[in-house]
């Protein structure tokens, strides 16, 4: 209930108390009135307030019960207040099944229910608070599946780069399939597209989508695109249903989800192997661009040719380098230095042998020319001179010369006596003088 409404209630209550007091004082002395009269009075006050005749209230349903009479009774509440409500003939007028906990938007009036002496909400129109309610459900399911690990990166399958057969689960008459086929035709016309027609909005859409995804598994697809074009959150809702999320998760074909526009995120987007912002974007992800691939092949072709040309040229260059070497052109240069070396050795050899011979023949010549060979007397003469010299030296030492100076020489039995001990008494000795010998006897 809005704050505004509560203030208004409070105001009315005050007004009512003031009037009641006045009323009571008026009648106090006069008469007692019935409960019905009081209630009527109160009821009239409610009815006289134009704002209460047409209220717009949002709140959460509780104790909602559809009676066999066809009326719906319920309590509408928020965190602080509550108000009873009733919708007559609800069974024919309701477009949804009211459930406790559901957020609803109600248009109606507030009146006093005299039987129970309380005010209540009479519903003219009731509808689920779509956005608020859906948002909560979305967050709840997202949290649940996240905890179960359905969004884990580890489960994500790789989308094939060069698919040959792509499946699409979407409406056969929507813009999505048209966009997808157009895009694939333009980018990668080698690919087959198989449509698995499905409802994409309404109550039966979720189970239908799920059925078609399972069915697609039998068609040997490389990639599966699941999605639809843009719409309101209610339109896209089937892609937020648990059954769709689980079927996508279980699908063995890599799944690209493509629901609505860039800004729309659905549970399918989280659980799919890849999320595309739009169906066109899904087709662009699903197939490679022909032109770029063609260029890539051409480039690889030229790079291969260039690489091999470079290598061959490199070898050629090395060969040319070797062949053009000076030595190859002038092979004599290989042995010319050796020849020179040989010549050098030969010349040195002949020079040295000549010089050896020359030296020795000189020596021979020298020998030949020596005095010995010129004069035979030369040697004899030289020796004679030497002999004479020796003789003169001998002359100095001659003992006879000593005798000439008065000395005498004593001999015994022909030997010179140099000591007195060599002689004994009676020995015959010979004394030699310069001019003759004397024989005598030792006494």
């Amino acid at each position: 209930m809005s704050v505004d409404l509560r203030d208004r209630m409070q105001y009315l209550l005050n007004l009512f108390l003031v009037n009641l007091y006045k009323f009571c004082s008026d009648i106090m002395d006069v008469e007692y009135i019935t409960v019905s009269k009081v209630t009527d009075y109160i009821s009239n006050i409610f009815r006289s307030d134009s704002k209460l005749k047409r209220v717009f209230i949002m709140g959460e349903l509780s104790n909602a019960k559809l009676y066999p009479s066809g009326h719906l009774y319920f309590t509408l509440k928020d965190d602080d207040s509550q108000i009873s409500g009733v919708m007559f003939g609800a069974v024919h007028r309701l477009k949804f099944r009211p459930k406790d906990g559901m957020n609803v938007l109600i248009q109606g009036r507030i009146e006093v229910y005299k039987d129970h002496g309380k005010y209540q909400l009479y519903v003219n129109k009731i509808s689920p608070d779509g956005v608020g309610d859906l948002h909560r459900r979305f967050e709840q399911l997202k949290k649940k599946l996240y905890k179960e690990g359905l969004f884990d990166e580890s489960h994500k399958k790789k989308i094939p780069n060069f698919p040959e057969r792509i499946g699409v689960v979407t409406a056969p008459n929507g813009a999505a399939i048209r966009d997808i086929i157009t895009t694939i035709k333009r980018r990668w016309p080698f690919c087959e597209v198989i449509l698995f027609p499905s409802l994409v909005q309404g109550d039966r859409a979720a189970s239908n989508i799920s059925y078609q995804i399972r069915r697609s598994e039998n068609f040997d697809l490389d990639t599966l695109i699941v999605g639809r074009g843009g719409g309101s959150i209610e339109d896209l809702w089937s892609f937020n249903e648990e059954i769709v999320a689980r079927t996508i998760f279980d699908c063995t074909t890599p799944v690209i989800s493509a629901v609505g526009h860039e800004i729309d995120y659905t549970i399918s987007d989280f659980v799919a192997d890849l999320r595309a912002a739009t169906p066109t974007a899904a087709a662009e992800i699903a197939v490679p661009p022909y032109g770029e691939i063609k260029n890539a092949v051409n480039q690889l072709n030229s790079r291969a040719n260039l690489a091999i040309d470079n290598q061959i040229n490199d070898y050629k260059h090395r060969m040319d380098n070797i062949v053009s070497k000076h030595l190859f052109k002038n092979p004599s240069e290989i042995y010319a230095p050796k020849e020179m070396m040989l010549d050098n050795i030969v010349s040195r050899l002949s020079f040295s042998s000549k010089s050896l011979i020359g030296k020795n023949s000189n020596r021979l010549e020298l020998i030949k020319n020596s005095n010995v060979f010129k004069d035979e007397e030369y040697i004899i003469k030289a020796h004679k001179e030497k002999l004479l010299l020796e003789l003169s030296k001998l002359e100095v030492l001659n003992p006879l010369n000593t005798l000439k100076r008065g000395y005498a020489l004593t001999k015994h039995e022909g030997k010179i006596v140099s000591s007195s001990k060599e002689l004994k008494s009676g020995d015959e000795v010979e004394i030699e003088f310069k001019d003759g010998n004397v024989n005598t006897m030792v006494i």
């Binding site: 694939i184 990668w188 290598q311």
Partner: protein, 73 residues
């Protein structure tokens, strides 16, 4: 070996590997020439596939599970 049965993707990948190897220039000439010939076969195989551009075939699986042609519009 460029083989009709290997996928376009495998052929393209092998071609890329061979070209990078050739560009390094450290493959002995005899091997390089073999690799080059292999690369040329792969280029041809990829080109053949790319020339083979038919119009995208769009089909629909009907309620009976039969695949029939699907025309947009």
């Amino acid at each position: 070996m460029a083989d009709e049965n290997t996928s376009f993707e495998d052929n393209l990948k092998e071609l890329e590997e061979i070209v990078s190897k050739l560009e390094k220039g450290d493959v002995p000439l005899d091997d390089a020439i073999n690799e080059f010939e292999k690369a040329m076969r792969l280029v041809k195989s990829c080109d053949d596939k790319l020339k083979d551009a038919q119009d995208t075939i769009a089909k629909i699986v009907n309620e009976n599970g039969e695949i029939v042609d699907f025309n947009v519009e």
